[in-house]
């Protein structure tokens, strides 16, 4: 369960959000600049809000009134950045094992994630030689292998061409089916959100506009997409 309460000013944008969700995959949906990534950064600990409280599965990550602010490295959240951020000087295998080393992952778990994301042929390659879709798959695998309490996906399909996008989307669906990881997905694509989320929070100008089940969102997707444009 995610409980989130944030107040923060970022230049022109004023974040002022309250939300609670029991969904396993929660999507933050809104246009660019709405504050979605800032919310994700606050959950990860990369942004220190002026005030707020973030609780994930009864674990308090942040409570400014109580002086609690868990360091990023201790939050154990698998963050998949929009640009992948793979380490260019390490092989794919070493990238995957980077967070795994901290958590002492077992070889069977490594093989399982590598299999689910079809990363086996890429293991000895280096990130600069990978395609966009391959990079995102490795980034997702790397985040999962750190044994996270939650997965944070920031526009994971952004910048990919149609074929790569479809492939990564397929892998994300498989992961959702096979793994029981609480996931927060940030996206401004209604089709991605409809395909992956259980619940959708619409954000506009730093505030929650609506919170609705994914099925309802999907049925209204075209209308919602129009209203966001």
């Amino acid at each position: 369960m995610l409980e989130l309460n944030l107040r923060h000013r970022l230049g022109e944008l004023e974040l002022d959000l309250d939300l609670r969700s029991q969904a396993r995959t929660l999507a933050l949906f809104g246009h660019s600049g709405a504050g979605k990534t800032s919310v994700l950064n606050a959950i990860a600990g990369l942004l220190a809000p002026q005030s707020g409280r973030i609780v994930l599965d009864d674990r308090v990550l942040l409570d400014t009134s109580a002086g609690i602010d868990l360091p990023v490295a201790q939050r154990r959240l698998g963050y998949v950045f929009q640009d992948g951020r793979l380490f260019p000087h390490m092989s794919v295998r070493k990238n995957l094992l980077y967070g795994a080393r901290e958590q002492g992952i077992r070889p069977r778990e490594f093989d399982s994630i590598v299999g689910l994301l079809a990363l086996d042929p890429l293991l000895e390659r280096r990130p600069p030689s990978l395609s966009g879709g391959e990079r995102q798959r490795v980034a997702i695998g790397r985040a999962l292998l750190a044994d996270p309490r939650a997965l944070l996906l920031d526009e994971p399909l952004s910048g990919l061409h149609a074929e790569a996008r479809a492939q990564v989307l397929d892998h994300l669906r498989t992961l959702k089916r096979e793994l029981q990881v609480f996931t927060v997905l940030v996206s401004h694509h209604a089709d991605e959100v409809a395909a992956l989320a259980d619940e959708v929070v619409q954000i506009r100008e730093g505030r929650v506009l609506a919170q609705l089940p994914a099925a309802e969102f999907a049925s209204r997707a075209s209308t919602v997409a129009q209203s966001m444009s």
Binding site: A44, L46, V72, A73, Q74, R76, L77, G78, Y79, F81, D83, R85, F87, P88, H89, Y98, G99, E102, Q103, R125, R126, P127, P128, S129, R142, A143, A146
Partner: protein
């Protein structure tokens, strides 16, 4: 052109030893200071940077005099070290200190530029994967800065290898002890019939400089993620 004489070999080996030890000894301090300047804002930062650049701006003889005032028999650091039986003035160890001080700004500047060039977002990614500050530095920042660090080491070594003014003021010109290659060249220039020796040592200095430069280029070019994979 004849082979080097025993004295010339001695000067060459001393210069190499002084240069290598000066760089190796100052590298950890340079890494720490470069990291501080690259990643942190703090009061007194401008003063620290100004002090860092002093050896580049001051006449080397003045730097040598300052070292003598500090590390000489009656200097504050000299007296302190003497209590542990360590004397550096007029010793080869003093030449190492002079060379390290003169090369330090170049080393810090190169390393800092290399740290500045590392994509901070990669460090953030490592942080989200559970890596603490030291692991992020050792596994992300340091390997991605190797080129700049290697270049800094070569520049500092070249500066140390060619150091003259600060060395001769601080540790004088003692054969076998403090007569480095540049000081030996100066000595030969002022000696009747010394010109062939000057020429030999000048060629040696040129060869060492070329080898150091080639080594830096090889190290930088040999980094696998630079050499290939840019598909």
């Amino acid at each position: 052109m004849t082979a080097l004489t025993a004295d010339e070999w001695q000067a060459l080996l001393l210069s190499l030893r002084v240069g290598l030890i000066a760089v190796a000894g100052s590298l950890p301090f340079a890494l720490g200071l470069a990291w501080l300047l690259s990643r942190h804002r703090f009061p007194g930062r401008i003063l620290l940077e100004s002090l860092l650049f002093l050896p580049l701006i001051l006449p080397p003889v003045v730097t040598g005099y300052a070292l003598l005032a500090l590390f000489g028999r009656h200097g504050p650091l000299g007296e302190l070290l003497a209590q542990f039986g360590i004397v550096v003035a007029f010793r080869w160890t003093g030449a190492v200190i002079a060379a390290a001080v003169m090369g330090f700004p170049l080393l810090v500047l190169s390393v800092r530029a290399a740290f500045d060039g590392v994509d901070r977002r990669l460090e953030t990614a490592a942080q989200t994967l559970g890596a603490g500050a030291w692991r992020r530095f050792a596994t992300i920042t340091l390997p991605l800065s190797l080129r700049g660090i290697a270049v800094g080491c070569v520049l500092a070594f070249a500066r140390a290898f060619g150091e003259f003014g600060a060395t001769i003021s601080f540790v004088s010109n003692i054969p076998g002890q403090t007569r480095t290659l540049p000081i030996a060249i100066y000595e030969l220039l002022n000696s009747p019939g010394g010109m062939p020796g000057v020429q030999r040592l000048a060629i040696v200095a040129l060869v060492v400089a070329l080898l150091a430069s080639a080594a830096a280029t090889f190290i930088a070019g040999g980094m696998p993620w630079r050499r290939r994979d840019h598909a």
